[in-house]
């Protein structure tokens, strides 16, 4: 065993280090939650794989791997992520915050409309009875399991309107900024749960 280790060259060691790094990057890709980080990790995975190909005397394959894996695929992912163009709001409050006199004229609607227009999103407000009647404690679950981006609820004691969304969505920070001027509107961001929680 000791003889084997002393016979290894620098290139062999580099290869082992890169292979271990590959395992860590693969685990990170699976465990991470932020889309942007995952795209960067996928690109770096391809980069490490390409260096392994070079170490194994296959520069042809390495060039193909770099061009496809760490340039084209991440760019396609970035495009696909930025193409997500629908913003779905679940209205649980069911009062004049969004709909007044059977029309979309409430303060909340104007706020959300301005927010959606800023990002060129298509605002889609729903009050699906199946989802809307569920307990408030399940809101986080609802956002994770369905394609709802935002839930609007009303605090029964203070009368505040609470907008709930995912903390990992960059849009939520902007929404929080926009709602600073409104007195009775609060934004709640749900942290992503880790694996197995």
């Amino acid at each position: 065993m000791v003889d084997y280790l002393t016979e290894l060259t620098f290139i062999d060691y580099t290869g082992y280090v890169l292979q271990i790094l590959l395992i860590f990057i693969a685990l990170a890709i699976v465990l991470h939650k932020k889309t942007g980080t995952i795209v960067i990790l996928i690109a770096s995975f391809s980069l490490v794989t390409a260096s392994l190909y070079v170490l194994n005397n296959a520069p042809d394959v390495a060039i193909a791997e770099v061009a496809i894996g760490s340039a084209i695929i991440p760019l396609i992912y970035v495009i696909s992520v930025s193409r997500q163009r629908e913003f779905i709001v679940l209205d649980k409050a069911m009062d004049d915050f969004i709909i007044t006199d059977e029309q979309f004229t409430g303060i909340g609607y104007i706020l959300l409309k301005r927010f959606a227009d800023f990002y060129h999103l298509e605002l889609n407000i729903t009050n699906d009875p199946m989802l809307g009647r569920q307990d408030e404690a399940r809101d986080q679950r609802l956002i994770e399991d369905t394609n709802v981006d935002l839930i609007v609820t009303k605090d029964k004691e203070t009368g505040d309107y609470i907008l709930k969304g995912k903390a990992s969505s960059l849009l939520m920070n902007k929404l929080e900024q926009m709602t600073k001027d409104y007195e009775h509107v609060r934004v709640v961001q749900f942290k992503d749960r880790g694996l197995g929680e």
Binding site: D60, I63, I79
Partner: protein, 244 residues
């Protein structure tokens, strides 16, 4: 009462399923290890030795990978190029818009693309294009070839969409050109039936000088690079259009 019973039965099912999954993974790992051991016995140098001694004389390519791709196994390479053609048609077929609608304007939101990225893209774009062409043209001398160079050129074209979001592209035209180039590749590969008597090899005779044979290799590399970059370009544009 009823719900708890059903949930407990579901957990039993999921546990047994997990055990089954782990067992399957273990079996797969065992098969993989055994086959790797076999591979070490099968591994030999005969093929490499043959290419090392004869490939340059027979094909005129210093890059033995290119000599295999464009001469010895050209038949396989043609179908590899065909796969991309089929993938492009699949992407266009799946994306629900028709061709006329696709010719509309492209919009990458300028405020979502950072200025640093745009500036850097402007700087890197000509270099990427040059590097792509270099890899395509030197495919028979250095690592690379039509596919790799075509992919790099396609990336440069994709970066162009970030520099100029209002760029318009006629997908129907690109796809037509790609198909024509694929036909040209098949024709260039089949010319050898006239000169050599066999399909899918160099159309210069075997004893021709290497410089002459390089003409065929460069021609085929350029055609393949052109075809690959057009195909990948079509795929991006389909993605860019989707969801708008």
């Amino acid at each position: 009462m009823n719900t708890s019973a059903s949930s407990s039965s579901r957990t039993v099912v999921s546990v047994s399923r997990r055990i089954l999954l782990v067992a399957m993974l273990l079996v797969l790992f065992g098969v993989f290890t055994v086959s790797m051991l076999e591979l070490e016995e099968l591994y030999n140098d005969y093929g490499r030795q043959y290419f090392f001694e004869n490939a340059f004389d027979e094909t005129g390519s210093r890059n033995f990978v290119t000599s295999i791709l464009l001469d010895y196994r050209l038949f396989d390479s043609l179908f590899e190029a065909g796969i991309l053609l089929i993938a492009v048609s699949g992407v266009i077929w799946i994306s629900k818009h028709d061709v006329e609608e696709k010719n509309a304007r492209f919009m990458i939101d300028k405020y979502k693309t950072p200025d640093l990225f745009v500036t850097f893209s402007r700087l890197v774009y000509p270099l990427m294009l040059t590097f792509g062409f270099y890899i395509v043209i030197n495919g028979h001398l250095s690592p690379g070839g039509g596919f790799q160079g075509g992919a790099i050129v396609a990336t440069a074209i994709l970066i162009l969409y970030y520099i100029n979001p209002d760029k318009e592209t006629n997908i129907g035209f690109i796809v037509t050109v790609e198909k024509v180039v694929y036909l040209l590749i098949i024709v260039a590969a089949s010319v050898s039936i006239v000169t050599r008597g066999t399909f899918f090899t160099n159309f210069f005779p075997v004893d021709a000088p290497a410089d002459l044979k390089a003409i065929y290799l460069v021609l085929l590399n350029v055609l393949i690079g052109f075809k690959v970059s057009l195909g990948l370009w079509t795929i991006f544009t389909a993605f860019l259009k989707e969801g708008r």
